[in-house]
Symmetry: D2
Subunit: 263 residues, 4 copies
């Protein structure tokens, strides 16, 4: 039986302050005040996930536990990030599970790094490679705000030039502008029969990576696009949201064979 006693927030815990007109990711500090257009909110000494908080203007907010969509979407961005609609499928296609040892290039703002780190857990390992120091530092800061992830290895490295420097990965994902330049190195880093994935906004990029994968001994290549629509359920009626995202990118996946040659 799991405890149903209130789980009080501790100093530094992340939470969502939610109101139909506002959705903020904050970090708990007793007595801290937060100002919104709906009035000021003060967070008391004893507060639990799920609790209501009333603002100075009489508006009720709720303290929610941030899920992985919240935390990955609300990283401080210095790059475009991978969206949940893609990140979810990446986890399944790459077989990222608790205890897995996975790799990622580039780190970007750390949105996927955070998701990978959450799923593999402390008995797993995430190697995240990034060429640009400022991106790596920002991503690291992002994750530090979310908790302690000593099983994430932050590697500042130009993989195209230097290779990965590791082998035996259970899964590897490439989120770089020219993934095809890393395919040969990716072959070395991955275990046999495991999945390499990449995301590219343009079809030309996908085709080049696809071709490189075929040449370097990857098989079962497949490309997907994922669309997500929000459906609005309102008193005046039910319909999809009128405007939104029509395209983020194409996902390409394939498995490493043990023959590094054209298949």
């Amino acid at each position: 039986m799991h405890s149903s006693s209130p789980d009080y927030l501790k100093e530094g815990d992340s939470f969502i302050l939610y109101h139909p007109e506002g959705n903020f990711l904050l970090f708990y500090s007793p007595g801290k005040k937060f100002h919104t257009h709906l009035g000021e909110v003060v967070f008391s000494e004893k507060i639990s996930y799920g609790d209501p908080v009333v603002s100075s203007k009489g508006e009720t907010f709720y303290i929610l536990h941030p899920n992985m969509v919240d935390l990955s979407m609300k990283v401080k961005r210095k790059t475009t990030i991978i969206y949940p609609k893609e990140a979810g499928l990446i986890l399944l296609e790459l077989g990222v599970k608790c205890g897995a040892v996975v790799g990622e290039v580039g780190t970007g703002s750390g949105a996927l790094t955070f998701i990978l780190a959450s799923v593999v857990g402390k008995e797993g390992k995430v190697y995240t490679f990034e060429r640009r120091k400022e991106f790596l530092e920002n991503a690291r800061e992002n994750l530090k705000r979310y908790g302690d992830f000593p099983w994430v290895e932050w590697v500042e490295r130009d993989v195209e030039v230097e290779g990965f420097g590791i082998t035996g990965l259970d899964a590897l994902f490439l989120d770089v502008p020219e993934p095809w330049r890393l395919v040969s190195h990716a072959f070395e880093a991955l275990k046999g029969g495991r999945t390499l994935g990449s995301l590219s906004p343009n079809l030309e990029q996908v085709k080049l990576t696809h071709e490189a994968m075929k040449k370097e001994g990857f098989t079962r290549l497949r490309v997907y696009e994922v669309l997500q629509r929000e459906i609005m359920i309102r008193p005046e009626g039910t319909r999809p949201r009128e405007r939104g995202i029509l395209h983020t990118g194409y996902l390409l996946f394939g498995e490493k064979t043990n023959k590094k040659e054209p298949l």
Copy 2:
């Protein structure tokens, strides 16, 4: 540094036998033969993920490591199952991570059960509830073929009548025809501020569950549909696959507040 020595398959290990014209999920047994329309394949004593195997008709197959799409889609089905395009988003929206304690009703054929079990790992816990013994047994068999998951609790129970009997869940997912009937019980089972999710093929079901969630103290309700298209990259050209799945269901998510009353 992770080992790059060949990872030989052991008796009972699952693998994908892949050829562009065939994609089979099998379980390893040395010397075992497998018959396909592309000839007979024999699995030798020492075989690693990524290895090629040549059939009696001279066709080359590859031994791939099954990912979570393979394993969840290839359960023996007695029910419709949750597809990867939805399962991936469910993981992120529910915040299912390594070590989490999560619940699911109903078990169905165990496709999502397997995914949840893979992600939460041995320090986590999956409670899966199913009313129909034959479904529960089939799902249990499905997971047994994939490995040992002692952290899955298989519960034969009519949750609508008896409730969950547990509390303190980090996340809960409902895949039943009438999820609205379980919302009140779900409130009791979940920790505060955590996410309840459900999947329904029809909009009327979503609306009833949406209404029940509003009445029973859930907030930040949101509904999504997810579409996935495969893009074919072939010598003759690049285009989406011509026919396929246009709809599976609508996903509804919301967070439990600590006030079980209409919000």
Copy 3:
């Protein structure tokens, strides 16, 4: 053999002034000047569709012949309008062709009125019904700018209260918030076996209209949604436009039987 001599624009002719950074619907008047952020353009005495015009800032514009997308999308709007992705399918589902006698409620801003009028031509007839005088006047002005359409009958009338007052229509389209209230009248106005169509943003509206049509002797009911994505072909790559319209409305069609009773 059709003439290939230059077709000079005449006073009042509509045209598109096009530049990759601007797309304007204008009406020709010799010597007229038009100011854009890319400089001033002057339209000379002899100008043909397809001709280039250079602005005062040295930018080349082209004089294009407006198509039905241009003209319908660029009406002066006092209401939301029907988009080309829906209007095209409406023409085919309703069998609107040259010479047809068709009806439409409400006129709105006249976007669909214009399309219907263009297709049925002078041997056809368009009856357009609108309750609100200001909408009717605006739509009429919109069409007057596009040409002379004496075969359009502009009817200021509350069809729900007064009925259509005509019979024998080859096709009828309802673009009103509560189409179900007009179904019984629509039955009277349409010829047997012909198609009634409607567009509604919300599913609840569609369901009510669907039900009314079943009750009032319509058959072969069908509902569609149409999505259109633009694909960008640019030097940096090919991909769908990132953001845009995800939903406008649901189209409902059905045919009148000669039995005005529940089928």
Copy 4:
């Protein structure tokens, strides 16, 4: 006032024989019998669109007036055809209206030919070009079954080699595997400022045609894909149809400038 007297079918008139389990395109002949799995149907001497007909097994069918979707989709096919979701948009983008003079290559099975012919009417003109005699003959037969279309010019010709041989077209559509090879000829055939359209299943085709259009003096190039989903409204609930068409092709449009050179 339009006649509301029953419009009796005449010998040879097309009609839809409709039952929820069957949807047949037939041609009227008094006393004719038609056999279905729901029993035999006999068509009496006096029958009107909208009338019910009861089969020998007691099932009620309805006599519906075929719309343009029915007639275009039910041509006898020797080729793939253009679907309504695309044909509708083509009409609007090309500005095909009553009285227009339009061209089309290739004729294929005549589905689009029929639609163009219906819209331009007897004061318009459709030039349809097809290299393969058997396709042209089949398409011609298809239209003959639907009525008399003397304003359709059936041209057996290899346009790539011989050009169009006409000029002054108001609009032109290319439905051939290699539309880029016809762009230069299309420039000659079209009036200035008018629209050239094409449909291609693969992106590589679109890119080649796009490039050819830019080189040959076309401007305002745009590419679209159109998706259509059917929404099922049934007693058990409302949802999109589960499986269906995910892709037919990409539509490319652009307008002819009067400068046949790279823009």
